[in-house]
Structure formats: C-alpha cells, structure tokens
C-alpha cells in the first residue's frame, strides 16, 4: 500500500495546517469539545488533545477497508439475529454455546424479539490498526455504544476554516455528512412516525459533549433521564406543560442494564421504565439494540471471521489480529508457553483496561497471570503483539512517532443501497502520547487526529 503520509506532511499546504494546531485547539476549546474523566471518584472535564497531522488513507486502501467493514458488520448483525432466534451457528458447531451463554453481554430477555428492521447494531465502531506491512487488522468490534465520531467531525469543520488551502489543494472526502447518515438511519428505523431522540445519562457522562453535539447536528431531541415515559407500550416525550409527543427512535447512550429499571437494574435512575416492553412490541427503535454485548465480547471476536463465512458465504476481507483462546487446548498450550511475547486481555474489561503485555511483566507476575488463565480460561484471550505502524504527531515543537489506531464507524439500517449499510468516510484516529505505550484511549491520556479518506 502507498505510504502517502510523508509526502503530505512536508508539502507547503500541509505545513499551514500543521502550524495551525494551536488555533484548532483554541476553536475546540471555544466549542466546549471536552470529555469527562472520573479519577479517584472526582469528575474532571478535559480537552481531547488534537494533533493536526491527519491520518491519510488512499482511496484504493479505503475501498478495501469499506468493503471489509460492511461485510463484517453484516455478519455481526446476522449473528445477533441468529443468537436471539434460531441459534444455528451454535447448532452447527461454529461457535461453542458456552461462549455465548457465559458472555456478560448475552441477554436472555432478548430471545425471540424482532427489533425494528431486524437491525441490532445500527452504529458499529470497529477498531483497526495498520501493520507496518500496510495490512489492516481488526482489534475489536464495538457494537453497544461506540463513541468518538463527533471529534473528527468537529475537527474537520474547524481545520477547513483555519487552513482552507490545505483542503483546496487536496481532494479529501468530506466527512461532514455523518449527521445526515445518522438522521437517515434514525428516520428509517423510526417506529410510528415519532420523534428521534438521543438519550444521554447526563452532563457527567464522559461522552456528554458528543451526545449534545450529535443532537444539535441531527436535529434529534437531546433527552435526559426523566424526560420520557411509556404508556400502553408506546414511548412518549413529555413537554413543559405535560404535553406529549410520541418517540419513534431512541439513540441511547445509556448501557443496556441501566436502560429500563423495571426490566433490568432496578436502582437505575438513568432509564425509562417499561422501555424494554415497548421495544419488544416493535413500537420504538432502540439504537443500538439490546443484547449486542454478546457479539462484541472479546471472546466472541475470535469467531467473527468464521461468522463471515457462515452467514455470508464469503472469505473475510479484513483479518483479526492473530488471537488465541485458552478454551482450545492447542491455544491454551501455546499461550502458556509463549505468554511473555503475547498481549493478554481480560474479556470483561473495556476502555484499554485489563490489557497486559507479557513482555512488561516480571517472571513472578507472569506466573500469577498463568495461574489466572488456568483457573478461568474463558475470561482471557491472548494476541500476538502487532507491530503496528506509528503515526507522526507534533509534541512540543518537534515531530515524533506514536502508536495509533483507527475507529471506523459503520451505520446500518439506513435507506439506500447495500442493505442500508454505510461506512462513514472518516473515523477517529487515536494516538498514544506516551512513546512506550500501545494504549491509545482518551481516558488514558491519548489524543486524536482527523482521518482523511482521499477521493483519488
């Protein structure tokens, strides 16, 4: 694959953009582009540091990625439908049943439910890394509440203002259509011609900026806990003087377990009582659907390429990072023998937590980890460490190289071709600010870049 980054980064029009980093960050500050972090029980809002050197993806590479992402998300949606209906993939021995039923994300309450349009994962955030050889690998699928699209969206809006010549001289796919893609999907999924809402847990959620910004840009109503009620299995949004309008689609940014206190976690103050009942009846689209956690479980990840073959009859276009499941004897033996060179992940953790590099552990700690794997093999997966491509960032006054990943956003359930599945021509490129770290999560101090998909 063509490495265009060097060419772009040294050209005069790129230089203008790079030099405008402080200006971009001031604009981000002006628009209140923050994310919240809890540390020692205290909530703090931070700016998400932006680096002005974009990740550049040539069109021919993107075309492959796009096809691969559509394929993968179609297979994942087919899997979710199957798991909560026929379970043929289990019956046919492709995925062992214990991986499904012991997954924290599996929800027996969802058995037999037909969500609107039969879509479960409307917004899928697929995390990828590019290897030094130019091959892309899927790191994980996020099918519950993937966040992050708003950052490259607003960064593009700003960089176009501060460095217009860069965008005149380079033919870059416009990424400002994400709200239209989202709105189209919400309108298509909308049940009963109700309004679209984005349900936020509130200001102290880490992604509150994104919730409010997407509401602004899609024209959906930003709803807070307590704004909606369910009567006769219909969801209503209550206005100032108790007037009510029907809700047809809820892009919820609240986890499954907190979304309906009468069906799940009874102490939740974030949900809508009886929402699950309305969803079951098909009276409201819940975006993303309930029960998706079973498909983005780190243990299930291993089986996604098999799902592609099983449901679509196609060879997977995109590959997983080489992964081992201690559940299988062969993999179990390999992991215990090679633990020092592998990365071990706790399947129950997220956000970059529960990830351990064997090479960073002392012999004693490695032995402890081995014991944990022996005790609970289902709890862990192991992966080869991918020597993924570093990206240039500006640190102080100099350019340095840092690890980076890419979260691509795939929207399913919209109108149009390809079964209503669209890949947004952009994505969130996150980078580690720590030179020794592979962890890029914003909650752990990472920054972000714009992602340019070239038109030619």
């Amino acid at each position: 694959m063509l490495d265009t980054s060097v060419t772009f980064n040294t050209s005069p029009n790129m230089q203008t953009l790079i030099e405008s980093r402080d200006s971009v960050n001031r604009w981000l500050e002006r628009y209140g582009v923050r994310f919240g972090v809890y540390k020692n029980g205290i909530f703090n809002e931070q700016f998400f540091p932006f680096d002005s050197i974009p990740r550049v993806i040539p069109r021919k590479d993107w075309d492959i990625l796009e096809k691969g992402l559509v394929q993968r998300v179609k297979a994942l949606n087919a899997f979710l439908w199957d798991i909560y209906h026929d379970k043929s993939i289990i019956k046919d021995g492709i995925v062992p049943e214990e991986f499904v039923y012991s997954s924290k994300g599996y929800m027996p309450e969802c058995e037999g439910i037909d969500p609107v349009g039969k879509v479960y994962s409307h917004i899928s955030g697929i995390d990828l890394v590019e290897g030094k050889d130019g091959n892309w690998f899927i790191l994980e699928d996020n099918l519950r509440i993937p966040s992050g699209a708003s950052y490259p969206m607003i960064a593009r809006e700003i960089t176009r203002k501060v460095s217009p010549t860069t965008f005149i001289d380079n033919s870059i796919a416009d990424n400002r259509d994400y709200p239209e893609i989202l709105k189209d999907m919400m309108d298509t999924m909308n049940a009963g011609r109700g309004i679209n809402v984005i349900l936020t847990p509130g200001r102290y959620n880490s992604a509150f900026f994104e919730h409010s910004y997407l509401a602004e840009k899609t024209g959906a109503v930003l709803a807070f806990p307590g704004d909606m009620t369910v009567e006769d299995d219909i969801v209503w949004y209550t206005g100032l003087y108790k007037e009510k309008v029907r809700v047809g689609a809820i892009y919820r940014r609240v986890s499954d377990e907190y979304l309906d206190p009468l069906a799940f976690e009874a102490s939740s103050l974030l949900g809508v009582p009886n929402l699950f009942q309305a969803y079951k009846k098909g009276n409201v689209a819940v975006i993303n659907g309930f029960g998706n956690g079973v498909a983005d479980d780190k243990g299930i990840y291993y089986f996604v390429p098999k799902m592609v073959k099983y449901y679509l009859g196609e060879e997977p276009i995109l590959h997983n990072a080489p992964t081992y499941l201690p559940y299988y004897k062969e993999d179990y033996d390999y992991i215990l023998a090679n633990i020092g060179k592998l990365v071990i992940k706790d399947v129950s953790e997220a956000g970059g937590y529960g990830v351990v590099f064997g090479r960073d552990l002392t012999p004693e700690k490695l032995e402890e980890l081995k014991s944990l794997i022996v005790e609970q093999p289902r709890r862990w997966i192991a992966q080869e460490v991918i020597d993924f491509k570093d990206l240039e960032i500006i640190e102080g006054e100099e350019k340095v190289w840092r690890k980076a990943d890419l979260r691509a956003f795939v929207v399913s359930g919209g109108s149009g071709d390809n079964g209503g599945v669209r890949v947004w021509k952009s994505g969130l490129t996150r980078f580690s600010r720590n030179p020794a770290s592979f962890v890029v999560n914003s909650s752990q101090g990472g920054g972000f870049k714009d992602t340019w998909i070239m038109n030619v």
């Binding site: 500050e29 209140g32 200001r203 509150f208 807070f224 949004y237 100032l240």
Partner: protein, 233 residues
C-alpha cells in the same frame, strides 16, 4: 434543523437560569467597573456596598485582593467567575437548542476566567470589557441562530427577571424597572403558563414610582421576593 419543538421542563428550567445568569454576569461586570472606579479616589470600602447589595460577604483583606476576589474567586458565589460557571452549567445542557457557536460565547469567558484565575493574573479593564463583549455576543447569537420562539422567550424571561432583581438591589431609577416589567408583560402574553398570575398581579400593584421611591427595606425585600417567585419554570 430541529425536528421537534417540544421542550422538556428541565430544559425550560435551564433556559430560564441561563437567561438569568448571563444577565447577572453582564450587570456584575458593569457594576464592578463602576465600583473599581469609585475605589480609585473615593471610598476604598466601596466594594462592601457592592457585596452587600449582591448578597455577598466581605472576606478580602486589601484592595487588590478585593478586585481579584470579585472577579476570579470561585469560592465566592458573588464573583464573576462563579456566575459564568453557573451560565455554563445551564448552557452545556442546551447545545441542541442554542447551538455550538452560541455556546462558544459562554465557553470563551469561562476559559479566560479559569486561566487568569489559575495563573494569578490580576483583573484589568481589557479582561472585563472582553467578557462584556462576549456576553453581548451571546445575546446576538441567540437572535441570529435560535428560531424557536419558546426558547427565545424563556431565555428573555430569565434575563428580564434578573435585570429587575439587580436594578432593585442596586437602587436604580424606577423607569428602568418599569420598562423591564413591561417587556416581561410581552413575554407573559407569549408564554402565559410560565408565570404565577397571583405574584405578577401583586408585583404590578407594587411597582409604582411613588411606592418604589418611598419604599424602605421591607418594600424592597418584598419586591425581590416577588420577582424571584413570578416565574414557575
């Protein structure tokens, strides 16, 4: 463009308080400039009158710390930074109603004040005037970008209530209060259910030039109480 104009009670409440706090910041800046000016060659304890009118407590040992405290002291609820923080508390909940560029006119003062407070920069006239300009720009941006009549009206109700409250506290001339009360009447015609009729009727009776001019502390306190309870959002 928003697909529905329905407004929840919590958003209406945030709009009302955003209207109040933006007006408070604007008037605080104006009054502080007057107060600081008087302190140059007049009574160095002038700030005490300001604090007493606004309901704050004197806690600063010298003139320099007074000026800094009234602008940058977050622990002082009567400071400008505290009022801007309260603006922000409400504004961030309303991004979809007021739009990001409008929110920017709250975010910019907030960041300026936070940075200056953090870096120990003494307040100066440039800072205060910049803050005033942003507050005016906030209202201009509302005019320019918010098309929902109800949103605009509720914001304006908050602004006018705060305007009357501050004018009463600082003994401004009656005509200013009368004008604001008349404007509030126009808002009431548009959004009648936002008001407590009984309280607004009582306010109307109390607001005559004669009563206002002759009224003592009891009258003023009653007036402030009624102003604070005229709206039921």
């Amino acid at each position: 463009m928003k697909t529905s104009t329905i407004l929840s009670p919590s958003k209406a409440n945030s709009l009302y308080w955003l209207g109040r706090y933006t007006e408070r910041v604007y008037l605080e800046l104006h009054l502080l400039r007057l107060c600081f000016d008087k302190m140059i060659d007049g009574d160095p304890q002038e700030y005490g009158k300001y604090l007493s009118a606004i309901g704050g407590v004197s806690r600063y040992p010298d003139q320099a710390s007074v000026i800094n405290g009234l602008v940058h002291d977050l622990s002082n609820p009567a400071s400008v930074i505290s009022s801007v923080e309260r603006c922000n508390d409400n504004a961030v909940l309303l991004r979809d109603e007021i739009k990001s560029p409008t929110l920017g006119y709250i975010q910019m003062p907030l960041e300026l004040l936070r940075q200056n407070a953090k870096n120990g920069i003494e307040p100066n006239v440039d800072e205060l005037q910049t803050l005033t300009d942003w507050m005016l720009a906030f209202w201009g941006s509302i005019e320019e970008r918010v098309y929902d009549d109800r949103v605009r009206t509720i914001l304006k109700i908050g602004k006018l209530i705060e305007h009357i409250d501050m004018n009463v506290r600082f003994d401004y001339k009656f005509y200013r209060i009368e004008e604001a009360f008349k404007a509030l009447g126009h808002c009431k015609a548009e959004e009648p259910r936002a008001f407590n009729d009984e309280v607004t009727d009582e306010l109307r009776e109390m607001l005559t030039e004669e009563k206002y001019t002759d009224g003592g502390t009891e009258y003023k306190n009653k007036l402030l109480y009624l102003v604070g309870n005229a709206v039921v959002l």
